[in-house]
């Protein structure tokens, strides 16, 4: 290939790299600016620790994490499902419905994907299937230098069954971006 074409291809590649990465920023900014704020329960709240590196990394397992069903073909591998949340005036979402299709203009909707399906048997010997879901927000980076009071509040609330812990997210057309951890109506970080 001639040097001129190689150089042109290189500039093209650089442009694509910038367009794709900038696209991520624009897309995320759009979700943050136009999306609805939802506080969703998550299933694996672990203790938070202050760290020297000034940031920490948390795995999030949102609720629902699995779907149980009897009809083997109802949910299949890599299928998209939509979780429609019922939220109160404080945006806390404690109940949900699982839909197989998207509802247009519903801002309380988050898209999840069926990651695996496997057969199981319930206690009453009923044969069922379990589908594991994967969500667009599974990792959350939080500031390791948060105040001691907030850290204590969060860590005490994990052991307290009367307290509800949420992950706050911006949701837009099924997409979601994690924003903060919440204990009831107190933003932890």
């Amino acid at each position: 290939m001639k040097s001129k074409y190689i150089l042109l291809s290189f500039f093209g590649i650089c442009l694509v790299q910038w367009v794709v990465l900038s696209g991520w920023i624009l897309d995320s900014e759009k979700i943050i600016n136009e999306g609805k704020y939802l506080k969703i329960r998550y299933l694996n709240p672990n203790n938070l620790y202050a760290t020297n590196t000034n940031r920490n990394y948390l795995w999030i397992t949102p609720d629902p994490n699995t779907i149980e069903f009897a009809d083997s073909g109802k949910y299949v591998l890599n299928q998209n499902v939509y979780i429609q949340y019922d939220c109160d005036q404080n945006n806390a979402c404690d109940s949900y419905r699982i839909l197989t299709g998207e509802i247009e203009n519903d801002s309380n909707l988050i898209k999840a994907t069926v990651e695996s399906v496997y057969p199981s048997v319930k206690n009453d010997n009923q044969k069922i299937y379990i589908a594991n879901l994967s969500y667009p927000y599974t990792q959350f980076y939080f500031n390791g230098k948060i105040s001691t009071e907030k850290l204590d509040l969060y860590n005490r609330s994990i052991a307290d069954s009367t307290k509800k812990i949420y992950i706050g997210i911006y949701a837009l057309k099924g997409k979601a971006i994690a924003d903060a951890l919440w204990v009831e109506n107190v933003k932890v970080e």
Partner: protein, 424 residues
Amino acid sequence: MNIDLKELTHAGILDSTTADAIEAFYVSKKQKDSGSRFFQIISILGIVLVCLGLILIIGYNWFSIPKWGKVTLGFLPLLSAQLVGAFTLIKNKTNRVWSAISATAILAGVAIAMSLLSTIYNLDATYSELLKWGLLLCIPVVLVFDSGIASLIGWMGIGIYITTGTLFQNESKIVFTLIFVAALLYIYAKHLLENKIDLSWAWHHIAIPTVLILFTFALGPYTCQKIMLLHLLILFFVFSSLPSINSMAGRWWISLYNKIGFGGTYILAFVFSFKSFWTQRSMHLSENCFTSTGNYITTLFSIVFIFTVLYLIKSKSWNLARAFDMRYLIILLGLLIIVGHLFPAVSSILANGILLVSSAYFIKEGIDSENIVKLNLGIVILVLWVMFRFFSTDIPSIWKGIIFIVLGLLCFSLNYLLFKKKKS
């Protein structure tokens, strides 16, 4: 081709002055090459260390930096690497060290930008998705700079992409993997055909088969692994039949590859010789194996296999006298997988037969050609076969002992006979 200068001088073909000049030329060339390679490795190590240091310093103060400051910082390494890349293409295109450094720096720049953006926005950071975008943005860079080290990083990325998340029934992931593999295979094949193989490209001979094997195994569910074994055998068959591979027999990596391939094929033959392998319920081939994603991949593999066989017949590179040439063994094992799907018990018997006949073949070949390696290879196959059958059959200990003594004596006597034959 290795040339012995002293021999040529002695035979009067070369005079001593020319021989000295040739020797001095190659010594100087070797020193130059080794210096350039050393500089290349040190430079890349330097880039990695500088990047890691920057990441740690920025990471320590991360939450004190405003969002747009973080975004700018995320893009800075990529911008710098792209500028270095442009400089290399304009001013230093023929310099391999600059090309390798530029390509590796851009790859690192993309990786840093992506990981920082995913941290800033808590992005949909499923590892597999990030890797996909990373590979899409980086593989064209490898093609432009024609860099062996960057290509090797690309192959490692594909390997991680394949093993992260599920590939089974994930059409888009399979298509992306095939695109990545095809792009990097193109540049590898180009170097192979032009015989421009330095150390970084030589490592591809190990990296590529490893990634392709991972790919074939990740394609199907556990219950379809027998089809994946068929893919594996076809891959080895096609790779070892490539004319460019055969023309390079004697190179270290061809030798290593053939040894691993030989060992792997015989391990498979031993696995096939167990009845439980064919009767195990979880390993039964189900209809799903043929109707799922693996279906067209199997068809693709089969077409490539048929074309390779036709090519070998046309080029007359089959040697019917060498009945246990690796290629025949691979075809036999492939057929066993298909026969085993219909008659599970028959395949186990056939696999045992293949092992015994190949053991006898190696022993006979070893004695006829006075090759001690071949002779002992045959004995090892026989001993292993006997040991494995002891585990799967209920024979009284006394008989096991007698058979082992007979085998031991056979081993000593055959080696002694060959030694004596060689001496005479």
